[in-house]
Amino acid sequence: MTAVTESVHRRLGMTDDEYEMVVDVLGREPRPAELAMYSVMWSEHCSYKSSRAYLSRFPTSAPWVVVGPGENAGVVDIGDGWLAAIRIESHNHPSFVEPYQGAATGVGGILRDVFTMGARPVALWDQIRFGPLDRPHNRYLFKGVVAGIAGYGNAVGVPTVGGEIEFDVCYEGNPLVNVLCLGVMHRDELVLGTAGEPGSIAVLLGKATGRDGIGGASVLASASFDEAATEKRPSVQVGDPFEEKKLIEACLELYRRHLVVGVQDLGAAGLTCAVSEPAARAGVGITLDLGEVHVREGGMTPPELLMSESQERMMAYVRPEMLEEVLTVAEHWEIESSVVGVVGEGDMVTVRHDGEVVAEVPADSLSGGAPLYHRPVARPDWLDELWESYVPPTVASPAETLLALLSDPSIGSSAWIHEQYDHMLFLNTVVGPGGDGALIRVRGTNKGLAVSTDGNGRLCLLDPRRGAARLVFEAALNVAVAGARPLAVVDNLNFGNPEKPEVMWQLVETVEGISEACEAMGIPVVGGNVSFYNETNDRDVNPTPVVGLLGLADPMPIDPPRLQRARPGMEIWVIGPDPTPNFAGSSLQRLQGAPTGRPTAPRPDVATPMIEDVARLAHVTPVLHDVSDGGLAVAVAEICIASGTGAVVETDDPVWLFGEDPHRVVVIAESGSALPGRRIGRMWAGDLVIGDETLSLETIATTWHRALPDALGV
């Protein structure tokens, strides 16, 4: 047996204490392959060792939850024998090191998480955040990420129907790239990540294993960046959407014909994860023969084979009598396959290479035995000062302020991005990108699935609990605007360095905020992802939870609200509580400086009935639009731009026009409608009139359309 020196485990990203834990588990020094396996499975990225203790706070149950957190994706029952699978993931660190491939493989990975469950991926949403575009490097990262999402998503054949974009100085040096995938399946197609009974055979499907992405989870995704980040480029995987497309079709055929007992995708931690997690879940042992793995290059060592994060691979667990048919399906779809393992009694993962046992470890020590850290938590000492230093923004001219907001690339049209994404494939995109929540029809039913993804780092910096709760309520309102009722939440928690007590405090507060909002609405969290170490040169990003909320519209509105449907003569209403004079964390505040103050608290008592009202209104109202970034003025301007119709807004109060207090929706209704809100103006065949100022439709449209292209210089 070869003992390994301490420097090896440190190079693999393990602490000395963690190394000692491995020695304790095994009762001996680990072999090199074993150390490799523990280093990836116990990485922050795979084990959630710093966050697990707090994530258990999330409410996770509801009668409609079929699969909650812990599997590859959450699954909920949407009625009549149909299930929806949903998952969100980050690819922040790889996207900084190599934006195109980092973003592309993020798409590939999230798709596998969803079709691993048996669902066909039907739509993607991307949430991307960068430093300001006046810096050339930020433009390079932004363009690379958009090109990577387009290049992979379009070619793999899954539409990208929505997302979010934000530019803020805190993401300078550490962009955030999150991606959410929604899948749909029949109930009898659900597959779990189990290795099945002793005797099952492990079949590795898809792309050949190479040296790419070795240590991606441990070295790249679980550490902070400094100036030498580009040296980590070999840790970034390379995506091949063509292989993934064939793999999707092959796997869906395997499920349809009930040829597998379980499936696990190979993402972070590669083969190690694909054998240890299913074995631990099934309470069985497994013997893996590395010599059988189909490889792209010769001479790979056992640790390399076990850690490789080569993309587009799946492990299928198959009963022996089905093996022949499984291999035939793989051959038909022109994907490679190899029989690499056998499930047996016991609980050990045994790995062979060249006739020799190179690893022998308990399966659940890899997947469930990772260290659990209760890291120090402390409220940041700078927070009170931030709250107290609040200065209200100034508005000399509402018209000028509106133009300034419309020309902010975080607010202006996202067409430059989403027109590069295929967002129409599958003929299900009823409401696509650029609106509040996207609405996807489920063909063969009257149902629609709406998803909204929302994040706001400034709000969450100023008050992570209030900020996170507001994101959940905002996302719920966004799906209600499409006629859907909230069903489930997934979250992607993007944070700085967890070894700093104030970052852990931000996490704990965020989890509390999301939980409180979900409980108020009676919806579960069915999955999530935590991305720590989003810091560069010791500067943490703003705490940036991204909430993905799935809503069900059953039935779907026959003619769902659209901004384009506003017409002259219709009235402009706002429903929801009156705004307070608090601009903390708002877009207007960002135009004028750094975030200060304490954001307005959400009102769970108001939110729940209002979401129900809005979901009902969606069946009878031409236009509904959530009031969010830029406030009411931006919301009305967007309606004017989309519909080509002017508006008269009968207030010039900046609090009403630009405040971003939660739980508010603009409704455009036929004149004479009686709505539970406040009428604040009307649509007309003229310009946009705010108080005593007038802006031409052409001016606001050009400003809004050109915001992002101008910032990019295209």
Partner: protein, 214 residues
């Protein structure tokens, strides 16, 4: 009408177009690219997507797929052959349509509705339309920029406002006989007002009304 919708590895619009043709009354079958016998089919569709991963260039590998000999045979006997987007690219590579495709003028993927004007009503695709009528149909391509050094291509639809640099603004092109047509925008995506337009239905209905081969 019995229609074969060919599935290459990497195709992704096959079910969309098959569903819409089915709703229009056709009997549609998805046919794998290794099929070597299309006897009994009255027409064939090469759908959109990324056949063979667009390796080398769009359609360059797909033209060698085994099914293509049968597609050529059906084209030769006058059966309607429709290539949509990637299918159009494949038909050009296979020599069943003139010209070839290069990257869009702005070197960016374009996914949005565009307007096209009917320039020729003598093909099955446009048999139900009037000359000069304008249809609103989604475009979805990176290599949508058609070039035809011969200048002889029979242009069936033209972009009203050319989005990608296509020669003569061509959005759809036919063979001299008119029974092989390639269209770059996706008529199947304009099949329901709920999705923004149903202007594509007149084109696909035309495809189904085409004369049946002997």
């Amino acid at each position: 009408m019995r229609v074969a919708v060919v599935v290459f590895p990497g195709s992704n619009c096959e079910r969309d177009v098959a569903d819409v043709l089915h709703d229009l009354g056709a009997e549609t079958h998805l046919v794998w690219h290794r099929e070597t016998d299309l006897t009994g089919f009255d027409g064939v569709v090469l759908p959109g997507g990324f056949a063979h991963g667009d390796a080398l260039r769009t359609g360059a590998i797909a033209r060698f797929s085994p099914v293509m000999a049968e597609v050529a045979r059906l084209a030769a006997v006058g059966a309607p052959v429709l290539g949509i987007c990637n299918g159009f690219q494949i038909l050009c590579e296979a020599g069943l349509l003139p010209g070839a495709f290069i990257a869009n003028r702005d070197l960016a993927f374009i996914c949005r509705f565009v307007e096209v004007e009917v320039a020729d009503t003598g093909t099955f695709l446009t048999a139900g339309t009037r000359l000069g009528s304008v249809l609103r149909i989604p475009l979805n391509s990176y290599e949508g920029n058609w070039v035809d050094p011969t200048g002889q291509g029979r242009i069936v639809l033209r972009y009203v406002d050319d989005p990608n640099g296509s020669q003569a603004g061509a959005a759809a092109v036919a063979s001299a006989e008119g029974n092989v047509v390639g269209v770059m925008p996706h008529p199947e995506r304009a099949s329901d007002p709920l999705l923004g337009s149903d202007d594509g239905l007149v084109l696909l209905s035309g495809f189904l009304g085409a004369p049946v081969p002997v």
